[in-house]
């Protein structure tokens, strides 16, 4: 039983890796060319999640050097997330149909 648990623990990240990999591929492959730039911007926003890792890293920092690098990480991560969101939103806001059916 204990062995089985270890095996599952070992494999679960690999499963996540595989499934998430296919998912990313599938999402993009259905996108019309007209949305490529906004979507690239959207994926750019999604990896802004690095911000939470940066917060954890800064939270663990002890020495001033670690704090400085952690501070930089949070700063850059926040820039990625916030900037990525607003440029994507600005672009997508403009897409309108001639039939006036906005959502």
């Amino acid at each position: 039983m204990e062995v089985m648990k270890q095996v599952v623990e070992f494999f679960s990240p690999i499963y996540i890796l595989m499934l998430a990999g296919f998912l990313g591929y599938e999402i993009i492959s259905k996108v019309p060319v007209i949305l490529h730039t906004p979507l690239m911007s959207g994926t750019n926003f999604v990896h802004g999640i690095v911000l939470v890792g940066a917060m954890v890293a800064l939270g663990q920092a002890v020495t001033p050097l670690e704090q400085a690098i952690g501070f930089l990480a949070v700063l850059l991560g926040a820039g990625n997330a916030v900037g990525g969101y607003f440029v994507t939103e600005r672009m997508l806001e403009m897409f309108k149909s001639s039939k006036g059916q906005e959502k």
């Binding site: 990999g21 993009i28 959207g42 800064l58 926040a78 994507t88």
Partner: protein
């Protein structure tokens, strides 16, 4: 607490996936980014009480200050930027993400002496650091190039013989040093510093010799890199939200990069390791015929009495900020029962889809905008094809002239239309530096001048018809 946070991260991952999925259709795209935005806010808020954070209030203060400063600058930049400058803005935000991933790795590596990590984790930390640092410096260079900053302007300046070997050597040195750091559990500051400097240098050296026209592919590649770096650091921190989001971006970014390169008829390796000048061999086919000019009002009359007009916009139109005037003219044509369609080449603008954004900004409905594959058959039934500030993407040499650097690139079949009008600033050649046989064809008329002024002239021409 751990369970609560993991639940929120799980929810964030779901929101990201649903958001991206909604972003893949024009009608739901706007709501997609909002969904993803909620996910990001949730994840950020709960991370303040993450159990891995053990330090005192000092670090919390730093966290808040860093988020405030980074967020404010990015918000301001994102609100100010012009739509034409969007690609370089994406590049810089992407670079920030890569830099953040690299910085996380730096903190983890410096702490190894106090908090030992298994070798496999260390290798992932080092790999993420390398990829993230490359994405950071490379994106900064890409930004500089697209922003046309003086220092980056001359691509040839950064090319030298044996460049690939030097780059390979720098990369190899970074990899070896990274492995040494991981295998020896080293927290040696000097070693880590040199490792990061090598990684940063490699990213910059990789991007510097690449020309502005190829930058979209490179930015997209760096976007995928950042995703991968974030996922790797996610494994290091055991953070599932980072792992899932990072991998999704890594795989979708890789596919997007391949699609872009394919639209430009180049392989990714070709973009990275060569340049336009080195492509195409032998003499280009001689172009015969003459350029036949036409005045804007005459061009307008031809369109007003047509039954179908296809507009082919290029980056030149965006530079002249002519999209609003052009759409105004199109509306007049539509009122006269002329069928108007826009044909977009995959690399029109500076990125696939960039032209659509620019047209959308001018108010053009997206159901009048067609991809190359959708509309290419239709040119033969069009009375007029109006080319605005586009050149290489409508050059028939891509079909016939094996010596041409753009040979093999899919093009819009503008030359199949009954009449072709080309709005062009002057008589110069296109971005790839080659003559365009289309401009000399019997059914082509050249309308010279600034695209915005020409469009104004055309509007007047149509209005005068009553």
């Amino acid at each position: 607490m751990g369970y609560a946070i993991e639940t929120i991260y799980f929810l964030t991952a779901v929101l990201f996936i649903v958001g991206l999925q909604r972003m893949s259709h024009p009608t739901t795209a706007r709501s997609g980014i909002v969904w993803a935005g909620y996910g990001m806010v949730l994840a950020t808020v709960v991370s303040f009480v993450h159990p891995q954070i053990q330090a005192g209030p000092g670090n919390y203060a730093l966290m808040v200050i860093a988020i405030a400063i980074g967020g404010a600058i990015a918000w301001w930049g994102a609100k100010k930027v012009a739509m034409t400058a969007m690609p370089q803005m994406i590049a810089i935000y992407n670079g920030m993400g890569g830099g953040a991933a690299a910085a996380i790795a730096a903190v983890e590596l410096l702490k190894v002496h106090a908090h030992p990590l298994p070798i496999s984790t260390l290798i992932m930390a080092v790999a993420g650091a390398l990829i993230g640092a490359v994405a950071f410096s490379g994106s900064v260079v890409a930004f500089g190039k697209l922003q046309e900053l003086k220092f980056f302007k001359d691509d040839a300046k950064f090319r030298f013989t044996g460049q690939q070997k030097v780059n390979a050597a720098v990369f190899a040195a970074a990899v070896v040093l990274g492995l040494v750091i991981a295998l020896t559990h080293s927290s040696n500051g000097a070693l880590i510093t040199v490792f990061f400097l090598l990684a940063l240098a490699f990213g910059a050296m990789m991007a510097l010799p690449i020309g502005g026209a190829d930058m979209p592919v490179v930015i997209s590649l760096f976007n995928a890199f950042t995703g991968l770096a974030v996922a790797l650091e996610g494994f290091v921190l055991g953070n599932s939200a980072m792992i899932i989001a990072g991998i999704i971006v890594g795989s979708s970014g890789t596919l997007l990069t391949l699609m872009m390169a394919k639209a430009m008829n180049r392989s990714v390796a070709n973009v990275l390791f060569s340049n336009w000048a080195a492509l195409g061999s032998g003499e280009a086919q001689a172009v015969t015929g003459s350029l036949k000019p036409m005045e804007p009002p005459d061009a307008a009359i031809q369109m007003a009495y047509a039954s179908k007009v296809i507009i082919v916009p290029g980056y030149g139109m965006a530079v002249a900020q002519a999209q609003h005037k052009i759409w105004e003219m199109c509306k007049l044509l539509i009122e006269r029962d002329v069928t108007v369609k826009f044909a977009i080449h995959p690399v029109a603008g500076r990125m696939p889809g960039h032209m659509n954004v620019l047209l959308a900004e001018a108010g053009v409905p997206y159901d009048l905008i067609f991809d190359m594959d959708e509309i290419n058959e239709e040119f033969s039934t069009a009375d007029v094809a109006l080319v605005i500030g586009a050149n290489d993407v409508v050059n028939p040499a891509a079909r016939t002239d094996k010596a041409s650097p753009i040979y093999g690139m899919p093009i819009l079949n503008v030359d199949h239309a009954k009449n072709v009008q080309v709005i062009k600033r002057g008589k110069g050649v296109g971005f790839a530096g080659i003559e365009n046989a289309l401009f000399f064809a019997d059914n082509t008329r050249m309308v010279y001048g600034d695209a915005q002024k020409v469009a104004a002239g055309m509007i007047q021409g149509i209005k005068d018809l009553g």
